[in-house]
Subunit: 223 residues, 2 copies
């Protein structure tokens, strides 16, 4: 009986969150802003790939970054070096970003005049998948050291992905990681999702991710 109560509360929270996500998407559509939510395990290379994406886009688009962490400002300091606008959000222990946090972060960032907003979500392959942030697209990272079996073990995250980047492929041989098996496992969860094989260190695959994002940004601009 208690368990049922908990489920109902969770459903209430999720359904309210989904409503708010629609509001955010409507507002962003009106402002013609492309909003990207980046999710992965801790240490999969979100900040590094976001830095590469910023460098690939910043000459053509005005970009704002939201860095979400439980604590510390490590990532915001790294991102600030690219010269784009960045806010650091502390969730004070919360394991994911809700739409309410997303909304407050967008206000704190100030979105007027921006073309692109990128949210670096909490490093967590479970909970952030449940909470729509109001973003246009979810970019999910899977790093080579984590192993090619992770899409089997963390299904929802790969189901909600709009696009997947396999990262740190420069160490693929050391870790006995098969990109083919990884892609196969990702497609078991999400048959049509585009998957990019990347190494930020070797600058491989990053241009392809940037080009994919350019197309999505232009779609939003065209309305």
């Amino acid at each position: 009986m208690d368990e049922f109560k908990i489920v109902e509360i969770k459903e209430d929270i999720l359904s309210r969150n989904n409503e708010q996500a629609k509001d955010i998407r409507r507002e962003m559509r009106e402002k013609k802003i492309f909003f990207l939510n980046v999710m992965s395990s801790p240490g999969s290379g979100k900040t590094t790939l976001i830095t590469e994406i910023i460098n690939g886009l910043k000459n053509d688009y005005k970009i704002g970054i939201i860095e979400a962490d439980l604590d510390s400002a490590v990532d915001a300091e790294t991102i600030a070096k690219t010269g784009v606008k960045v806010v650091q959000i502390h969730t004070l222990g919360a394991c994911h970003i809700t739409c309410q946090m997303s909304y407050e972060s967008l206000s704190a960032l100030g979105t007027d005049g921006l073309d692109v907003v990128i949210l670096e979500n909490i490093g967590n392959l479970v909970c952030p998948a449940e909470f729509d942030t109001g973003a246009n697209k979810n970019l999910v990272l899977l790093s080579v050291p984590e192993g090619d079996d992770k899409p089997l073990k963390y299904p929802l995250m790969f189901e909600v992905a709009s696009v997947v980047a396999i990262t740190k492929t420069d160490v693929g041989k050391i870790f006995d990681f098969s990109p083919e098996r990884a892609v196969e496992n990702i497609h078991k969860r999400n048959p049509d999702v585009p998957v990019f094989i990347t190494s930020a260190k070797l600058k491989q695959g990053v241009d392809e991710v940037v080009n994919y994002l350019r197309c999505e940004i232009e779609k939003v601009k065209r309305g």
Copy 2:
């Protein structure tokens, strides 16, 4: 107002969980079973280190393993090869193990005659830290590819650790990971926690972890 309601519910859940943790610990103490909860990010090497621990202990102790995952039986299949008793638990989306799940898993495993139970928690550096599983000790892993800054970004996990193993140190140079900085960051969160520097691949540091656990198992046996 809504936020306050949510917090109260969470506190209720946590306080009920803590009560149940005491019951589990009492029962395990009576049975003289050492119960270890292993936590980390996805892909940090929990299953690999647990396999090494089993191999280091199984000639002297009867061991049972609880594998918790959202989905799949990948890890249980790996562990089963060591010849010890193992149960696979599916949390159906839940991001952590509560005491209720811990209790049901222990029943499913069957603890009579065991000396050691090891729970491999969900790969998640956030939520499992909040939920006492009733274990005697929390072993937390930090893998080199994740980066030496993670204790700053995921404070609670390192605060609740009884012991930390830095894993995959064979790739330390590739990833620009400083064990000294990692230990320093861990000790900022938890000043006296023992930290072992390990590489399962090179069989380094694993004996030290096994010896640490032997001492803890013997403490429980002595009562």
